[in-house]
């Protein structure tokens, strides 16, 4: 036993040996180091490509970085995200609550599955960009339409993942709970939900990523507001570094949010993964 514990111990031992502690630390963060190197390499290629240049509309990495920092400190990003995050947060909240709820319901009841699942399967397959003009037609160009765009993209994947997660609960754990006379409610709360949580959270992560796509699509296709406005405006006046900085910022925000969600999941729902 204790193979993982032993591995931890030996890793600690390397970092603890005084003189070579720098190399030890370096080894310890090896994966982080490789990731940083991969990103740095990407930026380097970008810089070179920008200097060739491959297109007059393709800024170098350093120009983009300068634009990014300027926009970060002059409040352009703050104002833009204050607007962009509204439909995103509302839409994701609705999708998460409704999607996880419906997903669990579909997983537990065959009737709910027949009733609800086909709608989501079709919605997931539908090209959403094509539906956004329809939303605009019905709900205009306000917050409602943009929120709806987020929900339409995020809800199906969250609901379908929740449904699959619950349907694939380890049957022997369910039997175990029954054999110790667990009630119907205990079975759901103490067995099915924790067992399903990794896939439910995978669905939430995918839903969040889809929500980002939805809100940007909405801001580009319905009316330019927030970060969509920044992108559209800087493109129209040929401020390409600023336009790229806006695009990079949305990628950054999306990545950070997804990582935060993952960290939350491990911390709250699956304590056994914290140690490993």
């Amino acid at each position: 036993m204790s193979a993982p514990a032993h591995a931890n111990g030996s890793r600690r031992a390397i970092s603890g040996t005084g003189a070579s502690s720098f190399w030890g630390k370096l080894l310890e963060h090896r994966t982080a180091l490789w990731r940083a190197a991969s990103i740095a390499l990407f930026f380097l290629v970008w810089e070179i490509a920008g200097r060739i240049p491959i297109s007059f509309a393709f800024p170098t990495f350093l120009e983009t970085l300068r634009a990014f920092l300027t926009m970060l400190f002059n409040g352009a990003f703050v104002a833009a995200y204050a607007e962009t995050l509204q439909p995103l947060v509302i839409g994701i909240t609705i999708s998460a609550v409704l999607g996880v709820g419906l997903g669990i319901l579909m997983g537990l009841s065959r009737f709910a599955e027949w009733l609800v699942a086909p709608v989501f399967i079709v919605l997931q397959a539908a090209p959403m960009a094509a539906l956004i003009p329809l939303i605009t037609f019905v709900y205009g160009i306000g917050l409602m339409s943009k929120t709806l765009a987020v929900v339409m993209l995020a809800l199906p994947v969250i609901a379908l993942n929740g449904y699959k997660a619950v349907r694939n609960t380890n049957p022997s754990l369910v039997d175990m709970c029954r054999s110790f006379q667990g009630s119907w409610w205990q079975r759901i709360v103490k067995i099915i939900l924790p067992d399903a949580s990794p896939i439910i959270f995978a669905g939430l992560r995918l839903g969040l990523a889809a929500g980002f796509i939805g809100v940007i699509l909405a801001e580009l296709l319905i009316t330019p507001t927030g970060i969509g406005d920044l992108i559209t405006y800087h493109r129209s006046v040929a401020d390409y570094p600023e336009m790229y900085a806006a695009v990079v910022s949305i990628i950054l925000v999306s990545t950070l949010t997804l990582s935060a969600l993952e960290a939350f999941e491990v911390r709250v729902l699956r304590p056994e993964k914290r140690k490993g």
Partner: protein, 267 residues
Amino acid sequence: MRNITAAATTAVETPSPDAAVEVRGICKMYADMEALRSIDLDFPAGKLTTLLGPSGCGKTTLLKIIAGLIPATSGEVRVNGVAVTGPGPERAFVFQDFALMPWATVMRNVAFGLELKGMGKAERQAIARKYIAEVGLSGFEEKYPHELSGGMRQRVGLARAFAVNADVLLLDEPFSAVDEQNRRKFQEDLLRLVDLEKKTFIFVTHSIEEAVYCSDRIVILSRRPGRVAQIIEPEIDRTASPDAIRRDQGYLDTVEEIWQGLKRYVD
């Protein structure tokens, strides 16, 4: 060794008073497949009875019917004289694949049966700690299942079943996912626990050696549809050391006899 197949069939009319579990005319159909055909059995209280048979003979099905996890097509199971309609507090199940919650520590897993009954945290942890010690896992209370070996995981499953203080323990091939060396050690520990806990054990296995080594009584089921083919009581001196038992002539003869009986079911 005593072959009491004939005695068992007459027991249907006169149920022995010391039977903890009585199985009466159990049949089980899965769609068109007949898994069990009119099983009549008594499981004496305080003894370890093994259900042994070739794979697909329905021994696990029978155990799960006794546990109340799956319904029988017809027939009745009585535990302490009361008919079984579902899982109950007088029975506890040990699962082949351990069925431990990977997100819970050893402590929470062992105390889980008590947690479901609504017992307070301090009280249930005190009980769980006692049984964790009894199965030899002291010091591992805060570990997670993935940090334990297969044998240790099944000890957690066993401690969880002991913790609810059921009269009847149902073990579904508890050692099949445990490696050979750990299994031997575990079998020896199980015998010690059987002696210590004074409970009725019903044990499903496909290992003849395991059955003969551990059991007071062995029920051999025939291949599909499962029926009681033979009942054997190995008369082995349990006070001898485990190694002496494994070399005992009575032990070896019993293993051989069961093998001769089962051979025809093997293809």
